[in-house]
Structure formats: C-alpha cells, structure tokens
Symmetry: C2
Subunit: 367 residues, 2 copies
C-alpha cells in the first residue's frame, strides 16, 4: 500500500494542534447519558478530560447537570460557567481551604476525604454547606480507606454527619486501566462491585443517615451494564477515548473523538519525523506487539478520523520531535500534516489551552 497524500488536507494549521470530532464526541456523551438513564443511575461525568466550556455545553444538551473535576481551580472555572453541582474527586488539598469556602458559597460543592486528620481539620475550617465524600480504596491502592475498615468508615461518616454535610462514599476503579482486554475489565468490575455491595450492606446497618455510593471509571462504564449498589457513575475519558482504550477493547476506532494534527518536518529512509513531542502528546506510552507506542498515525478529514491501511506508530519521542519508523511507501514531505491518535487523551488535551474542530473553529479549554 502507499499513502498517496497529505493525511490532513483540509485544515490550515501552522503547528501541532488537538483536533476534536464534535459529532463523535457528542455521540460518546449521548451514549453514556442514555446508558445511565436506562440503568436509572446518576451520571456525574469527569470534566478533567476536556476542561472545555464548549464541550461542557454538549453535556448540558444531553441533560447533564452535575460534574466531577480534579482541582479547585477547575471547579471555579466551571462554576463561573454556570455549573452548580460540582465534586472535586481528589483527596482535599487543605492548603486551598479558603478557595473552597469561597466556592462553596456559590455552588453545591463536594470534596473528598479519607482520613481522620483531614476530617477533623475540615470540621473546624469549613464555613459553607459542603458535601463530604468519603473515599474508599476498592483495591486499586491509590488513595482511600480500605473496604474492610468499617470502624474508620463509620467514624469518618459520623464526624462528617455531625459537623458537615455527609454525602456518601466515593471510589474509583483505577486498576481497570491496567487491564489488557475487555474480559479482564468486566471480571475486575464484577469483583469490585461485589466487594462494594458487601461494604454498603454493612455500612448501611451502621449509619442511620441517608447517603449514596459514587463509582465508575471509563473502561467499566463503557463495557458493563450492572453497577451493583452504585447510585452515581463518574467516567471522564469516554468523551474522547484514545489509543489506550481502543487497545483495551473499551471502544471502537470510530468512537475516538480526539486526534493530533502534526506537521511533518523530516522524511528519511525508513523514518518520518513530525513536529510533535512530549510537550504535545505527553510521554504516556502503551505496548503494541512488544513495541513502545506514543501514538498511532491516522487520516483526519472533514468528516472525521480514519485508519490508514497499515498500522504505523510514533515509537520514539523527545521534547518536540516524534519519530515514526516505517518502510511504508508514501509521498509525504516536510510541511504536510499527519493525524495521530494519542495514547492517553486526558494528558494530551491537558497540554493545550484550546482545541480545533474538524471545520477549523476553536474550542476553548481552561489552563
């Protein structure tokens, strides 16, 4: 096969850019929203993936009215855009308590706690009516209290309930990102769900108050239809998906809504070099057939992204250069553009303070 043309012919871009396919992005939002509605579970999508008011509006149009973010500043950014039910899903940073109090006067704000020191500190420091979420470690091992520490869960919930506004328990199955295929993801999800249900059954006997369980990551939320005793899910990456999700069997290629357009700056025997490095794609990699991969080459056309006939990848990355080793026949030359599906769209999108739509218009993102 031969690549006969510039792989991104219709966009007049000067330098590396993130391209968003609005139609696919809206379809991803709609699919997740419809799934949540049909399962009668609340959807509180994580907005850290896109960080965009424009894309936030696409969620609004599907009826979404509550969101998740990963920082106080991001909460403030979306609060200023009219979102008024926001959960910050990272253990609270006590150094930002003043900003949190200010924000809680404006919107319904949720913060995350997983230890007594923080809970007691908050009891004496919070002025607003802030929702307190107790973080559970469902086995992923990042943050949260162990599911079998019922005593600590009860103690934290009681302090929260007495002095603050106890909303419920929150968890994130981060281990699902380490799975290699959809069967593993489903199996892991079912195991975690069972443990969470056991926890909820026990804790409900201990705590007379009303509270809910918030769970859900993109791999699981995309693949399963049974969330057990969870009342709310918080996937984020699904808005764009990416090469990692595609290779894990979480999404089809046609569901990927974000690609990069990168200028070709060098063509050599067996090698194409693009202007697009770690400061554009991020250094996140996956292994494909034993090779390290930083992105997969694709076509970007007016009507969307498409695969080229033979898989070729960015397999070496320095600060600004990306290298594609290939013996594929092509007529690419310096100044052409190629499309690249990034490994992890959240990290790639985070490098930019705006994106470009397929028709060339600008889509905002906060920085």
């Amino acid at each position: 096969m031969k690549i006969e043309e510039n792989l991104v012919s219709h966009l007049k871009l000067e330098k590396p850019a993130v391209i968003v396919d609005e139609q696919v992005c809206r379809a991803n939002i709609r699919a997740m929203s419809n799934k949540a509605k049909s399962l009668k579970i609340e959807l509180r999508p994580h907005f850290k993936t896109h960080r965009s008011r424009t894309i936030g509006n696409w969620f609004r149009e599907e009826g979404i009215d509550k969101i998740t973010v990963s920082s106080v500043d991001m909460a403030a950014w979306f609060a200023n855009d009219g979102w008024n039910d926001i959960t910050i899903a990272i253990p609270v940073n006590l150094r930002e308590i003043d900003k949190i109090n200010l924000l809680a006067n404006k919107v319904k704000l949720g913060i995350t706690v997983d230890n007594l020191y923080t809970m007691e500190y908050l009891s004496g420091s919070l002025s607003g009516n802030i929702n307190i979420w107790i973080k559970l470690d469902d086995g992923s091992g990042r943050v949260g209290i162990p599911l079998d520490d019922i005593r600590l869960a009860v103690e934290l919930a009681e302090i929260a309930g007495n002095n603050l506004n106890f909303a419920g328990f929150i968890t994130h199955n981060g281990s699902s990102y380490k799975c290699t295929n959809s069967t593993e993801i489903k199996t892991l999800h079912n195991e975690r769900t069972k443990k969470l249900c056991d926890f909820m059954r026990i804790i409900k006997d201990e705590l007379p108050c009303k509270f809910i369980l918030s769970a859900g990551d993109t791999p699981s939320c995309s693949l399963v239809n049974d969330f057990g005793c969870a009342d709310e899910i918080r996937p984020g990456n699904f808005v764009f998906y990416d090469l990692m999700q595609y290779h894990m069997g979480v999404c089809s290629f046609n569901s990927i809504a974000l690609a990069m357009a990168l200028p070709v700056i060098g063509v050599y025997p067996g090698k194409i070099v693009v202007y697009g490095g770690a400061v554009h794609l991020s250094k996140e990699s996956i292994e494909v057939n034993g090779n390290k991969v930083y992105g997969k080459v694709c076509r970007i056309e007016k009507n969307g992204f498409s695969e080229i006939e033979k898989e070729i990848f960015i397999s070496s990355l320095s600060q600004e250069h990306g290298i594609i080793y290939t013996n594929i026949e092509h007529n690419l030359k310096p100044g052409d553009l190629i499309g690249v599906i990034p490994v992890h769209s959240c990290l790639t999108a985070d490098m930019f303070d705006n994106y470009t739509s397929l028709n060339g218009s600008r889509i905002d993102a906060c920085k």
Copy 2:
C-alpha cells in the same frame, strides 16, 4: 531516621509549584559560561528548558548574547524581550514560514534544514536574511543528514550559499541521554567528536565559503573540556539539571536548581500521596535500583534544596496523584508540603507558566 517536620516549611503555596533556586541556577549559568570562555568556544544556550525572560536576564548578566529555542513562538517571545541572535534548533516547520519571515526582519534568525525539498522550498519562500543551519545526524538517529553523505551536505550548503545565508552545520548528541554514567558519556562524546572532525575536514575542502560547527548537549558540555572542531555549544538542561542528570553522574545534587513543592493529600501505612501527577511532573521516568521513579523527595528550605537522610521516590503517577511507597518514620500530614526533584526538568518546567523562587517571588515563563 525520622522526618520530623514539613519538608517545605517557609513557602506559603496553595498548590503544586515549581521552585527555582536562583543562586544555584546562576552558578550553573556562570560555570558553563566560564567553561565556554576558557575554551574559546561560543555558548548559545538552549532556552527551551526555562522559557523565562527573568532567567534569560541571568544569562545576559554572564555576557550571553545568542540563544537557541525550539519553536517559532519561543523565538518571538525572546525576540520581544530584546534577544536578537536566535537559532531555532528543530528542522524548520514549513507551515510557519510567514511567521519566520516576519521575525527575520527583526532579529538575526537561524533555522535548521536537513533535506533538499525543504532547502529548495526555502530558497523560493524566504524574504529576510535568515541563517541556514544544515542539520547533521552524528549517530543519534533522530533527524539530520548522515555524516558520510558528503555529496548531500555539499549540495545543501551550495543551495543555501547561493540563495540564502549559509551559517554552518549543527548537530545534537541526543544519544548521551541514554548513557548510564559519566564514563559512557565521555566515551560517546569523544567518538562523536572524532567523526564530526573528520566530516569538517572533508567538507572544508569541498566548500570554499566560511561556516561553523554548532554542537553540544548538557551531559557532554558538563563533563568534557574538548569539543574538537565545534565552534559553538548549545546545552540547555544545565540551567536546572534534574534527577536524570544526577543519576547519570552529570551533576551533583547541589547543582540541581529546580524542584517541585507538592501538597501532601494522604498518609497511609507504608504510603504517602501527594497532589502532583503527570500534569505537573510529566510522565518521564528513570529506573533506580530496578524501580521506576518519577521524582525524588527532598527538603526545600530558604537557602536551597537538600537531600533527606533516606532516599524516597515518587514511584507511581496518575493524572494528579503521585504515590510514595515508604516505611520511613515521619510525621507528615495532609496539608504539609514536600519537595520533589523531577526526573526531567525541561518537561516539568514546561507544564507551568511561572515558577516560584526560594523567597516566594514569581519567575515568569512563556506558554
């Protein structure tokens, strides 16, 4: 041993911040400047590492008047700050030719070329008096023409000389970043230098015009005193250094001028979690004793960074969380700050549009 206190006690920071030790940074600049002066070689430092006008001024105070950058926008940023001899050391992106022409009317601008298509395109497109550097591949294999392709080197230089302003040959020993110790770096440097000298001897017979050789990367420039036939060196990372350079034996701990201050958000048995993830540190890692490492915990005090008694590392990183596994005795609690020396200071610095000095003042950086 026991960590008895907050590891960053004097700075009032709300969230993850890049801390620059001005004194160490200035000493690094002075040492490299003095080395270049004593060896009678030109120093054209790469400013992509710091991207800061303030830090640029510290170079000016050491007599530096020419710089290297990695993008047209970065060239424009420093041109607007009064720098008027700027080389863009990445193969030219032909899509930015209009911006390049505009900039070349204001400053002495150098661009990099390594193929006939681009050289011929530029011959018909450049309006200003732009310096053309022909990129050589000294064996690193990223970009550039092979050293043994004398015919291509001559052809490119002749087109450049006839239609444009041929400045010389430029190379970057990127392989030095793959070395594991200082002996390897020196050996590699000597091998590359010999090959470059052979190339220069041959090419000088072929080309009657005047031209120079620009070379030099931080590992080599820090460790060696003989640059062979190079007339100019372009190190960048040395301004800050980092954990990678330290572990390669390129610098001492006391020469590291950049650290991150990260809020503790969780303390668990055998584990400390900080607010500081891939969007703050970058996903660049090194191996230390067989373990993946994203940063090394340190103290940050008024007078500088210092090592803690036992080495502890960030060994797991997600988008916003960094995890330190350690059984060290400590009294750290949520809301404290810890210092972290990042693996690759260029990528960490690039995540931020400003830095903080040890006295808490702001240091600018372009985005």
